[in-house]
C-alpha cells in the first residue's frame, strides 16, 4: 500500500497521545479550550481511521501493511481497520457528549486527557503488529480504566469498584503474557504476520514437552474471558456504574469487547486449538444464560444494564466457540453501538422519568416484567400461530442463509447459531399469539414482514462482513472445522439446549398460571425463595470473592505483625 497509509497508521494512536499532552497545556486556565482541542483531535483520528478503511477497501484482498512507531509494529488488516473505525467513532461520540456532561466536574481537563490516552491505547491494541505492543496496550487499558472509573475520588465506592476491575484485568493480563512468551519462544518471532505464517507451516511445535499452539490458545481464551466479563470473572462489570457515564459508554461499547477481538486476532492459533474453542463455547453459553437471568432478576437498573452486557459478551464468546469469529466482531460492533446509545441516553431517560412519573402502560412490559395477565382480546387463530411459530423462522432463516452460502449447513457452528435464531424467531411469533391487537392478522403480517427484512438484511450483511474480515475461504472453513465436535456429542447438545430453552421459554410464558411461588409454608415455596435469593444475590459470587479477599488481607496483617513488618 502507499506511503501515506503507513503515515496514517502511525498517526492513529499518535494523535490521541498528542492530544493528551497538548490539550491540558493549551487549556491551562481555559477548560473549554482543552475540551474543544481534544474533540477536534479525536475527530481527526476518526477521519484517519476512515481513510484507512478506504485504503483497505481499495487494496487487493488480503493485503497487509506493517508500519513502525518506535519499536512497536503496527498492523493494518481488515480486522484492525474495522475495529479502529468502531473505536475512534465511539470515542468521538463519547468526547462530544463529555464536553457538556462533565463541564461541572472537577478535573475536567484531566478527564479529557485520560479519555485521549484510553483511545490511544485501545487503537494501539487493535492495530498491534507484534506480541509486545499488544501486551503493552492490553496492560495499559486496565491501568487507564482504573483511573477513569475512579475519576470521582470523593467517593470511596468508585475506588473500590475501580480496584475490582483493575484486579480482574490484571488476572486476565497474565495468561496473555504466558501465551505471548510461549508463542515467542516456540516460533522465534514476535511479529504477528510472521508468527501466523510459521504456525501455518508447522502447528505442532513442542516446548519442554508442551504443545505450544493448543496451550497458547487456552491461555488466550482465558485472557479473553477476563476482559469480556465471562462467568466467574464477571463481578467487576455490573459494579462499574460508579464511573462517569461517558466512561461506562466507552467501556460497555468498546473495552469489554476486547475478548472477541483477541479471538479474531489470533484466529490462526485457534484453528489449531479446538479445545480452547470448545471451552469458549461452554463458558460463553453459561455466561449468556447467567448474565441474561441476572439481568431480569436485578432490581437496580444500572446493575441490570451491566448484566445485559455480560449476557451479550457471553453470546459473543459463544459465537467464537462455534467458529463464527466474524459474527462475533459483527456482534461486538452492533452491541457497542446500541449499548453506547443506551448509556449516553440514560440522562434523558432519568429526566423524562422525573417529569412523568411511572412506567408508561405497555402490554409486553406488564406481561413479561410485571407478570400480569393480559386483558382478553382477539388473538391470531391457534393453528395459524403454531404454524407461524415453528415454520416461518425456520424457512426464512434457512432459505436466506442457504441462498447466501450453499455450504452454510455443513458447519456445526452455523447450525447452532441458526438454531438460536430459530428459537428467538419462534418466541417472537409465539408472543404475537399472546399479544392483544385490534387486527391480529394484520399485526402478524407486519411482524412477518419485519422479521423477513431483518433476517435477510442481517444474513447479507453478516456474510459480506465475513468475506471482508476473512477473505481467505480456507481459513474461514478451518475455523469452523476446529470448532466442530463429534456428531453424537453435537446432537446430544442440540437436544439438551432445545429442551432447556423451550422449557424455560414455556415456563416464562405460563409463569403466572403455573404459580411457581407455591403456597407459603410449603416446601416448594421454600425452594422458590431460596432460588430467588440465589438470583437476587447474584449467586453470591461477589460475596465469596469479598470474603476471600478480606480473609487474605487479615492473614497478611497477622503475618506482618508477627514478622514485625520486616
Amino acid at each position: 500500500m502507499d506511503q501515506w497509509v503507513s503515515w496514517c497508521l502511525v498517526a492513529l494512536p499518535a494523535l490521541p497521545v498528542l492530544s493528551a499532552i497538548v490539550a491540558p497545556l493549551a487549556g491551562s486556565g481555559q477548560q473549554a479550550r482543552a475540551a474543544r482541542l481534544s474533540v477536534a483531535m479525536t475527530a481527526v483520528t476518526c477521519v484517519v481511521s476512515v481513510a484507512l478503511l478506504v485504503a483497505v477497501l481499495r487494496a487487493p484482498q488480503g493485503d497487509v501493511t506493517v508500519a513502525h512507531l518506535g519499536p512497536a509494529a503496527l498492523l493494518l488488516d481488515n480486522l484492525a481497520v474495522a475495529m479502529a473505525v468502531l473505536v475512534s467513532a465511539i470515542s468521538l461520540v463519547v468526547h462530544v457528549y463529555s464536553v457538556r456532561y462533565m463541564a461541572d466536574e472537577p478535573g475536567y481537563v484531566r478527564f479529557f486527557a485520560m479519555l485521549d490516552l484510553m483511545t490511544a491505547v485501545i487503537l494501539m491494541m487493535v492495530i498491534a503488529g507484534d506480541l509486545l505492543t499488544l501486551l503493552v496496550a492490553w496492560f495499559l487499558v486496565g491501568v487507564l480504566l482504573f483511573f477513569l472509573l475512579g475519576f470521582d475520588t470523593s467517593r470511596k465506592a468508585s475506588g473500590r469498584y475501580a480496584l475490582w476491575t483493575f484486579l480482574t484485568y490484571r488476572v486476565g493480563d497474565l495468561p496473555l503474557v504466558g501465551a505471548a512468551l510461549l508463542l515467542w519462544h516456540g516460533y522465534g518471532t514476535a511479529q504477528l504476520p510472521e508468527l501466523f505464517a510459521r504456525i501455518g507451516a508447522d502447528p505442532n511445535v513442542q516446548l519442554g514437552g508442551v504443545a505450544v499452539v493448543p496451550t497458547a490458545g487456552m491461555l488466550l481464551a482465558l485472557a479473553a474471558f477476563a476482559r469480556s466479563a465471562q462467568f466467574l470473572l464477571h463481578t467487576w462489570l455490573p459494579y462499574t456504574m460508579d464511573g462517569p457515564t461517558p466512561v461506562s459508554a466507552l467501556m460497555h461499547a468498546g473495552i469489554v469487547n476486547a475478548g472477541g477481538f483477541l479471538f479474531n486476532r489470533f484466529a490462526p492459533v485457534f484453528v489449531h486449538a479446538p479445545d480452547a474453542l470448545h471451552l469458549a463455547f461452554i463458558v460463553g453459553l453459561v455466561t449468556a444464560l447467567i448474565g441474561s437471568a441476572l439481568m431480569l432478576t436485578q432490581n437496580d437498573v444500572k446493575k441490570s444494564l451491566g448484566y445485559s452486557t455480560m449476557g451479550q459478551m457471553g453470546f459473543m464468546i459463544m459465537e467464537c466457540g462455534l467458529g463464527a469469529f466474524s459474527l462475533a466482531v459483527y456482534h461486538l460492533i452492533a452491541h457497542g453501538l446500541f449499548k453506547a446509545t443506551l448509556f449516553l441516553n440514560a440522562g434523558n431517560v432519568i429526566g423524562d422519568s422525573r417529569r412523568e412519573d411511572g412506567v408508561p402502560p405497555d402490554d409486553i412490559y406488564s406481561f413479561v416484567v410485571e407478570r400480569r395477565p393480559l386483558r382478553e382480546v382477539q388473538r391470531v387463530p391457534w393453528l395459524l400461530a403454531a404454524l407461524a411459530t415453528v415454520l416461518v423462522p425456520a424457512l426464512v432463516l434457512g432459505l436466506s442463509h442457504g441462498m447466501v452460502a450453499a455450504d452454510f449447513f455443513h458447519k456445526q457452528g452455523s447450525v447452532v447459531l441458526l438454531f438460536f435464531g430459530w428459537v428467538t424467531g419462534a418466541q417472537l411469533f409465539f408472543s404475537i399469539h399472546k399479544m392483544p391487537s385490534e387486527s391480529p392478522l394484520r399485526t402478524l403480517t407486519m411482524v412477518l414482514l419485519s422479521f423477513f427484512i431483518v433476517v435477510v438484511g442481517y444474513t447479507l450483511i453478516a456474510h459480506t462482513f465475513e468475506t471482508f474480515l476473512y477473505p481467505d475461504a480456507e481459513l474461514r472453513d478451518a475455523i469452523y472445522a476446529a470448532a466442530s465436535i463429534n456428531v453424537l456429542a453435537f446432537d446430544t447438545l442440540v437436544v439438551l439446549v432445545t429442551v432447556a430453552l423451550v422449557g424455560s421459554w414455556l415456563a416464562t410464558f405460563y409463569a403466572h398460571s403455573l404459580e411457581f411461588e407455591g403456597k407459603p409454608g410449603t416446601r416448594w415455596n421454600a425452594i422458590y425463595l431460596y432460588l430467588y435469593a440465589l438470583f437476587s444475590r447474584e449467586f453470591y459470587v461477589s460475596y465469596i470473592y469479598t470474603q476471600l479477599a478480606r480473609g487474605t488481607l487479615s492473614a497478611t496483617k497477622r503475618v506482618n505483625i508477627w514478622l514485625r513488618w520486616v
Partner: protein, 252 residues
Amino acid sequence: MIALLLALILLPLFPLSMLFNAGLQVLPVWLRVPALVAFPTAGAWLLNQAAAPPEQFILPLQLLAAFTALLYAWRLLSVQEVFIWARLQATSAWPLVWLAWLHGLHGKTLVFVALAVTVPAAVLMVLGSSLSHRLGGAYLGLRGRIGPAFPRLTWALVVTMLAALAAPPFPGFFAMLAVLQQIPTGLAAVVLAVWLLWSWAAAILWQHGLFGKEWPRPAGTVDLSYGAGLGLMLAAVAAVLASIGGWSWWMH
C-alpha cells in the same frame, strides 16, 4: 563461592531479607535511598562474577527465591505505610533477579533487571519522606484522600507506583518479561503471581490514598514545588524513553 555468599547478603532471600529490612528501617531516611539502590546493584554485579552454584544447591535456591518473592508480595497487601511498602516490594522483587541468574541471565541485562525493579522503590522512599514531612507520617488511608491538597505529590506517587508494579512502558515491565523469558513454566507461574500481587497491593494503596473525603484541608499545606514536580516528571520521561530504547534493542 564467596561472591555468591556476598550476593546473598546484598540481594537477600528469606530469612536474611528480614535482617536487611530491619537494617533499612533503622537507617536515617537520607541513607535508605542510596542503600536501596546500591546494595542490589552490587548484588547483581557479584552474581555476574560468581560461578554457578553446585548442582545440589540450585533447586533449594530456586525454591527459597520463589518463596521469598511470594511471601513479601503477599505481605504487601496490608501495608499502608509508604516506607514499608517500598522496602517490602523491593524485597519481593530481588529474588526474581536470583531466578533469572539461576537460569542463565547474565551481564548488563541482569544489572538492568535489578535496577529496574529497585529504583521505583527508592523513589517511593523519597516521596514517602516528602509525605512524612507534610503529614507527620507516610501513612495513607488514615483519614481520606490527599489529591486535592497535594496534587503534584499525588501524581508523583501514582506514577512511581505504576513503575513499581512494573506497568508498561516503565523499565520494570521489560525487566519482568526478561525474567519470564528466562525461567521454566513452573517458576513463571510464581513470577506472574508476584506481579499480580504487586498490582493488587498498589491498587489497595491507591484506594487508601486517592479516594474518600478530602484530607488534609488545602489551607496551610504546601504541595511539591513546581521545580521538584518538573524534575520528577522529567525523570519519569527519561525512564520511559530509556525503557522504550531497551524495548527496541530487545526486539531486534
